[in-house]
Amino acid sequence: MFRRKPLFRKAPHVQITSATLDNTYDRRSFVVAGFGASIGLLLAGRMSYLAIAENEKYETEAESNRVNLSLIPPRRGWIIDRNGAPLASNRADFRVDVIPERMNHPEQQMAVLQEVLNLDQAAMADLREQIEQTRGFRPVEVASGLSYEQFAALSVRLPNLPGVVPQRGYSRYYPTGPAVGHLIGYVGPASAEEYEKDRNPLLITPGYKIGKDGLEKQFEQRLRGVPGARRVEVTATGRIVRDLETRDDIQGKPIKLTIDGPLQDYAARRIGLESGSVVVMDCRTGDVLCMASMPSFDPNSFSDGIGRVEYAMLRDDERVPLRNKVLKGLYPPGSTVKPMVSMALLREGVDPEETVYCGGGLRVGNRVFHCWQRRGHGQVNMAKGIYQSCDVYFYHLAQRIGMDPIAAMAHRCGMGQEFDLPVLSQFYGTVPDPAWKLEKYGREWQAYDTVNATIGQGYMLANPLQLAVMASRLASGRHVEPHLLFGESKGHFPPADFAPEHVALVRKAMSDVINGPGTAGRARLPLDDVLMAGKTGTAQVVSLSRSDGRSGPWKYRDHGLFIFFAPYDNPRYAGAVVIEHGGGSSAAYPIARDVMTFLFDPRKGVESLHALEKQWGGNAQERLAARYAAYAAQTGETVPPAPRRDEEIFARVDAEARAAAMIPVAEATDAAVNRSDLAE
């Protein structure tokens, strides 16, 4: 108020007439016109600036608005077995992803998806959990392996479902499922950490999956291929107006393994209800023919996006189906080291005909070490020490030569060795010797340590692959190295520094284990012309006071081990079977027998497998599905896992295919046809 008064008080002093107002109007309208003109000039200048100076920038932005570049994920390279049959391939399928960030009404849209795709409550729970855990920009797979009808039904509703992306793509397919789970691994969408590490836009392309484990991860770059690209003109809402240009993807390179697909399948299935592993090698080339580890997971269900319940089932299993037991299972090798120890004895000049009296035990220091045969073996020479697996013979003579030569021989046979294989990790166990013990425990090596080591107990630990390599080296007398990639090995290994007559003696003794008066007569091959040689082993897990090793709680039972090679007189194949808590070697050698039978006579092998699978309730894949159903029911989930695909287009790598292929053509006309080319 105070300020306004002087504003008005001045007014009466000036005489205002209409003429002065006209004058004022003229001046002021000039100002107004000038103001208008200057706004006009400002606008013209601003527009020139936008359209000329910044033209390039905005042209680029308009173009990037208009054109949407989408990557076409490359088809992943196949992983094939030594005969070219696919162990991992791709199949075309329809899939639906969601990009959480782009959904405007997540709950409503999820309800629509549930209805159209017929998803059950468990799948929805999985999906919600996944959406919560992933970053918003990353697509989450809702379902794959959709039927065309579902795919079409969803496509119609897309305008109301922003963030939902239907895809025609390829999914990874492992024809023999669990049999190759640990060996090959599985694929899955890249995690946020993996994307941080490798800023390849391909990794966040919907539906693109990278190797997560095993060979899939190891050979990721080679299998990946080169993505194609599709440039499309899109509207602001993302609707595609037209295709501008398309560049096809280049499929990743295949990887050919030394693995024999049917043998791998057979071995995995033959392990049956047990938990364990089977390794078979070609002892002339070092090619690993089979590396089965069971129980396993089905990499197909991992690639489809494993369910929460299914994962919990695998994680909680005491038989650790998520661990590759061939490379990461470490076991006391038990008596399977006796042929190796014999080689050490021979090398140190022990006469193989020298006998030791076995009365069922031997006092070492103030403890009595028992032979497994409490009644005793009587007079025992080296051959009998091996085929009867007499512990006392080895207790006695090992003390004479000491631990160091035995440890040296163990290393020569591949124990404690990490092999040059394209695998993510391998545990290489322990070959103890006095220096090792001193360093590790700060205590002197004792005689009883040697005694324990000679029967593969105590500190000694090995993985099944090392045992198989040991068998190969003993059988061939050469320094065999294992190989996984086909064609990598030329098959010329240097001699293992064994005297030929020593090798012959040990081979004969190992043959007698099975074909003579040995411990594993039941391991004899049901074939007329092939003799298998081997050595049993039983590894104690807990002290005898807690368990007798054969009965009682599963995890206290003894491990059953068996190393073998065949044919005994001209070794071609060698391997190892380890059955965890199998209750003794009798759990292991029948498996070795059947696996080798299958190798030489597939039909005979498959017959015995079928008989067993009938007792067990289906093959490994079927049993896994049944177990899942039971587990799901137990945890209150009412639903079966995602339905398996119906068509079985790759019938070449399972064990039956090999057997069928051996039947005269008239009997089996539709077997062993690789129809994969038709599916692509």
Binding site: T17, V32, L50, A62
Partner: protein, 371 residues
Amino acid sequence: MNSVIPAPIARQPWAMLLPLIALVGFGAMVLFSAAGGSWEPFATSHLLRFLIFLVMAWVMTLFGREFVRFAAYPLYAVLLILLVAVEAIGFVGGGSQRWLDLGVVQLQPSELMKPAIILVLARFYSGLPPSMTMSWRALVPAGVLIAIPMGLVLLQPDLGTALAIGFGGATVMFLAGLPLRWFITAGIGALVAAPIAFFFGLHDYQQRRVTTFLDPESDPLGAGYHITQSKIAIGSGGLFGKGFNEGSQSHLNYLPEPHTDFVFATMAEEWGLLGGLAVILIYGLIMRWGLSVARKSHDRFARLLASGMVATMFFYVAINLMMVMGLAPVVGIPLPFMSHGGSSMMTNMICIGTLMMVNRWNSRAPRSQLS
């Protein structure tokens, strides 16, 4: 005058009409393109509306000066009542209300208020004795006349229209010869009040428009989207544009409202800088004609009326163009004669009609007469 052309036609203000018709025709082409290369639904109705309102403008020229002077206050009063009615219906119906459904037509009283405020102020100042121009009696009644409709429109809420009313009114007051220091004082006052009004007077969505105008990249997919896409459209047009019907920004729906508020961006994308300068030039021609009509008029009433109408049109054009070029926040103000929309066409044609009417008064009587 050329004797070949009949007098009633020759008498029309072709200096304004020709650019105007060219502009509306050009606008129809842009709308044709904005509809994806189709006459429907924008271009045809745009031309049709123009023709109807052109007839209306011609009818307006028949009104006499005294009649218009006489009708000023009643018209203003009726519009105020309608504004209150709209507010009341909106209050009952819940939510923002701008329309009054009269059954046959939908009436938007706030639109009509823009020319009406000019009319009533021109009437007020023409009746005010010149000696009072410097006193409070020149300011307070006019301020009330402006404040009431502005307040009612703000309640709707429609900031753009309220500002248009305020701008038109202020221009008339300025030209009426009110002391310059009042305007300077008011300007300083507005500068002080603006931040306060921003934080307490504006709705959330209005505040957002202002903040995103200051930094459009802060939210390129949200509220800043309009400005960003509009600038992309204008900037990517370059010198000559992408060609008729070739604008990707408008055709692929990146540009929001390509047929109404952002019609200039639609045009600039396809016709480039040259098209844009031509449009600005045409507006300049029309405004210049309007101001010359005002200058040539015989009395204070006609002069203030005509220049106020020019100011109202100017406000539309300037704010719209500044908005699409990223110089002003997004306020829903369409571009006269180009944007698709009946009420904006009507308001602007009332302005044109008023100018044509004043032009006719000018040609009828000699300038010497004083009011």
